[in-house]
């Protein structure tokens, strides 16, 4: 499984430029899906049909979502010496960028530099630039153009139980979806696995995907923060503590029936879990929940340290718990009982 984590983590896909990561995921899921489509915004939507249609009624639709975009930067200006100015894509801190590299879709690499600063507190994006090794504007323009996006460079590290790399947010959840697609056998209802675009810009892809699918229930899988490193702000989620079942974040109060279904599935299958209340931040479930007339929705979170840096870290035991939990929840929802929700 770590090989696939590495492949997904290293894939290129800043928000709005998800073509490459979409191809990578598509090649992984083609064998499990009955139908695959890409919508107007670029969401990859994979339908898995039930073994048998429910007697006397059309199958209901279960939407499971992980976003495939990642944070990054976008080129805004190239000066006459060939230095590249940029704007952030998604929630980035300028301090995280110091000493880091970015890579563009075609493999062009850049390193971050700063103007002279009297105080490191003055570090702002507009004081920074990217040096792509060009000697003048023409040389730079031959490699990059205004509007081109780049992703952080962050090598994959296998630390044993834990792994680190860039874009674990949310490629680790893409892996959870792929594994659940492989394992879950929906009995009577359809499952739509959505690899969504532009989550980091405000849950944009999930919104149009959910409208198109018109699901009866929605589950997002995303990373959440952590509370278990030295002097960290109190937060009831630890690496290694199991799958996090979302109670609330800034985008969503989990539908009680969906949350309880997750808790019951974890208890019944002996899957380690922890309950999560995240004060800031949201997931695609927030967009799915408000689609059309409303969709009962919840989120399974993978605990992740150092989120939105090139060195995010997850625990493979937690990842396994999330895969098992999502599989169990999908099978329960897709059963004739509909998990008590459908």
């Amino acid at each position: 499984m770590k090989d696939l984590v590495k492949k997904l983590s290293q894939g290129f896909g800043p928000s709005g430029s998800e073509d490459q990561i979409r191809s990578i995921i598509r090649s992984e899921v083609e064998q499990y899906a009955d139908e695959i489509r890409v919508d107007a915004m670029g969401n990859l939507i994979c339908r898995v049909a039930p073994k048998a249609a429910a007697s006397g009624s059309a199958p209901k639709r279960i939407m499971v979502d992980a976003h495939m975009d990642e944070i990054g930067i976008v080129v805004s200006y190239i000066d006459d010496k060939g230095f590249v100015r940029f704007s952030p894509v998604g929630g980035l801190s300028p301090h995280v960028l110091l000493g880091q590299k970015v890579v563009f879709a075609d493999g062009t690499v850049g390193v971050f530099g700063t103007e002279k600063l009297d105080d490191i507190k003055d570090l702002k994006f507009d004081k920074m630039f990217i040096d792509i090794g060009a000697r003048d504007r023409a040389e730079a323009q031959a490699k990059v153009g205004i509007g081109d996006a780049a992703a952080m460079v962050g090598s994959f590290a296998d630390m044993g139980v834990r792994v680190s790399g860039k874009a674990m947010d949310d490629r680790i959840a893409c892996l959870v979806l792929i594994e659940a697609m492989r394992r879950a056998r929906p009995q009577v209802h359809e499952v739509y696995y959505v690899f969504a675009v532009q989550e980091e810009l405000g849950l944009r892809g999930a919104r149009t995907a959910a409208y198109g699918i018109n699901p009866d229930v929605g589950i997002a899988v995303d990373v959440t923060l952590w509370g278990d490193t030295p002097e960290h702000a109190p937060f009831n989620v630890s690496l290694g503590g199991g799958a996090a079942i979302k109670a609330k974040d800034a985008s969503l109060i989990a539908h009680p029936a969906v949350k309880n279904l997750m808790i019951d599935a974890a208890e019944k299958n002996g899957i380690p879990y922890q309950l999560e209340v995240l004060e800031r931040g949201g997931t695609d479930a927030g967009a799915i929940a408000l689609t059309r007339e409303g969709v009962p929705s919840g989120t399974i979170s993978v605990p992740c340290r150092y989120v939105h840096t090139p060195a995010e870290m997850v625990d493979m035991g937690d990842v396994d718990a999330c895969v098992r939990l999502l599989t169990a929840v999908v099978e329960e929802l897709a059963s004739p009982g509909g998990g008590g929700i459908l």
Partner: protein
């Protein structure tokens, strides 16, 4: 942005009753207030009434007020006027509607963009477009101490094609078609550098299952003030490029 608007002429209400924005004269300002922008609470509109009773005969609560700036040529090849954001876009659509195309062209003159992109979302829901082009006015801060990489656009360098802003990521296929169209016809264009601000694309794009949309903007100096300045050549090229883009849909089909 009324704090910059002391002494500006305005029109109040549907019958355009003239008024003047007044505030405390400079002679009466305290020293510490000299360098501060006047806040909204300290400003009022003087409609030339003697008292409240007279004023209430002339205007009523809820009357909207607009700036009385006249639209006129300015210097060599520039225009000044109010509301260039986004009447330039309205103008481009009016020109575009004069031509028959092979596809249904729906010109949407939307309401309430300035209070949160409100009109465009409901219009897009009604029209359900296969592709949308938003024609906007945008910032053009090529003056004062802004470093060049902070200029969003520069007047005189043509209409600005927007690859993304705070509200939406332009559909790359439409952006590329705009660029190809401009280059093939030799129409000057620029790519907007900054990604701040939002446009109606932020409501059209997420309509239903998603609508491919991109934005072309007109550089406007002093945008969101009582007077904007635009370059006449930019305006001509803006209208021209919008028209040529639509022609390209006849000739080459939709890029999406």
């Amino acid at each position: 942005m009324l704090f910059r608007s002391v002494s500006k002429l305005v029109y109040v209400g549907a019958d355009r009753r003239p008024g003047v924005i007044g505030s405390k004269p400079i002679h009466l300002l305290k020293a510490e207030d000299m360098d501060r922008a006047t806040d909204m609470d300290s400003l009022y509109v003087d409609i030339g009434a003697r008292n409240k009773e007279d004023a209430e005969k002339l205007v009523k609560l809820g009357d909207q007020i607009v700036f009385a700036t006249r639209c006129e040529p300015l210097g060599e090849g520039f225009l000044k006027g109010k509301a260039m954001d986004d009447r330039v876009g309205c103008y481009a659509i009016i020109e575009a509607l004069k031509k028959q195309h092979d596809f249904d062209l729906v010109g949407a003159f939307t309401v309430q963009e300035e209070v949160g992109l409100r009109g465009a979302g409901v219009a897009a829901y009604r029209v359900k477009p296969d592709l949308a082009l938003v024609l906007e006015g945008t910032t053009a801060h090529d003056l004062t101490e802004t470093p060049e990489h902070g200029y969003s656009t520069v007047p005189g360098r043509g209409p600005a094609i927007v690859y993304r802003d705070a509200s939406w990521v332009g559909d790359r296929r439409i952006v590329d078609r705009l660029i190809q169209t401009a280059e093939a016809a030799g129409v000057p264009y620029q790519i907007k550098r900054t990604v701040t601000g939002g446009t109606d694309a932020g409501r059209i794009g997420p309509t239903e299952s998603g609508v491919p949309v991109a934005v072309m903007s007109m550089p406007c100096r002093y945008i969101h003030s009582p007077v904007s300045v635009i370059c006449a050549d930019d305006l001509n090229n803006y209208v021209k490029l919008a028209g040529l883009f639509l022609d390209s849909l006849d000739e080459r089909g939709l890029p999406v």
